[in-house]
Symmetry: C2
Subunit: 202 residues, 2 copies
DNA sequence: GTCTATACCCTGATAGAC
DNA sequence: GTCTATCAGGGTATAGAC
């Protein structure tokens, strides 16, 4: 009887290659942005040559978009899970998200730099980020409304305003934190805002 | 007697050229970032060829830094003037600054994109932005302390925390506003935060 | 102060062998 | 699936004429 070798199948090797490319791409897009990152560097970091990389992702733009969509999928998944888990503690859930972000500076930098690049309408990720903010604002506004009805969040500010405010605080803190991680305690400052948004004496 | 011609002096022409280059540089650095902007485009927009531009600014990096320092000088000047003018109304002064920013989207985009690029330690503007935040946080913390003593701003949050919070809100709102200027009313949302930071019943 | 011409490097992508 | 070789194009900066 033929022993089953531990050798990986082709499909497994493909998956492993794509995974290494994705990791390397996150690193370089985060550091240099889409325009500054070089395919050769990403390939090298994934132990490949450039044509080797292009076999898996047929262009730089496609690589960017697939990395972005994959990370977005994982992150919004986590966000929704966290919000649901702490269903009756919306503000605590937000803090938990910020605290998690403190453990993945590379990913935070990826989104901070790429969304800034993406403001330009001719950037390949422009539509992606516009839609992402629209979608997440809508979703989170609903959650906030529930928290207001549950008397957890102050109701003198409309939910639509609170979403913009909370996302802005997250994004803005990330900039100062990424510039000086030792100096800025992101979650501590964020917690101050969350305290203010509690119902009085909550 | 020889009539004095209206012809501009050399010094005046130099100044005019540099001014046009600076304006064009702001535009392209804001849209494409430092890494994405092309010297040829900037030169063309200033009605020059590339060597013509390089006669005034000897390298792309030098051009970036001089544009940044010039704008920084003007902007912090304005910020300080506004803060002093409304000396006893710190929160109103902040709103006035945000309202002014709404009239200069190009400059806002310049700083939003370049600070994101500048997070990378190997970016030519990295030190510039780190120092800029340190300096402005220190200055504004002092102003906040005065506003707290004047019983205008709530004193249950340390001034050092409030600075980080306020700058973060400004930066974060700019991202959403630049992505969708029609949808996001930056100064209106910002005003909500300022209201919260007032002394109770102030 | 501005131009033409050009050197020189980098970059994304393709062709085709293994 | 990954490589070598290579192309076409674009990028900053310099040399030197006017």
């Amino acid at each position: 009887m033929k022993l089953q070798t531990p050798r990986r199948t082709q499909a497994e090797r493909t998956r492993a290659s794509r995974e290494k490319i994705t990791q390397a791409a996150i690193e370089f897009f985060a550091q240099q942005g889409f325009r500054g990152a070089k395919m050769a560097d990403i390939a090298k970091a994934a132990n490949l040559t450039e044509p080797g990389l292009l076999h898996h992702f047929p262009s730089k733009t496609r690589l960017l978009m697939e990395v972005l969509k994959e990370r977005d999928r994982i992150d919004t998944e986590r966000m929704r899970a966290t919000l649901q888990k702490n269903g009756n503690h919306f503000l605590e859930a937000c803090i938990e998200l910020v605290e998690h972000n403190e453990t993945v500076p590379g990913l935070v930098q990826l989104f901070t730099l790429l969304v800034a690049e993406g403001i330009s309408q001719d950037h390949p990720a422009h539509a992606f980020f516009t839609q992402r903010y629209q979608r997440e604002r809508e979703h989170m506004a609903q959650v906030i409304r529930q928290a207001q009805e549950a008397n957890e969040v102050r109701s003198d500010i409309p939910a639509e305003t609170l979403v913009v405010l909370i996302f802005a605080m997250m994004d803005g803190l990330q900039v100062q934190w990424l510039l000086e991680p030792e100096k800025i305690n992101m979650s501590r400052v964020f917690r101050v805002l969350m305290d203010i948004l509690k119902v009085e004496g909550g």
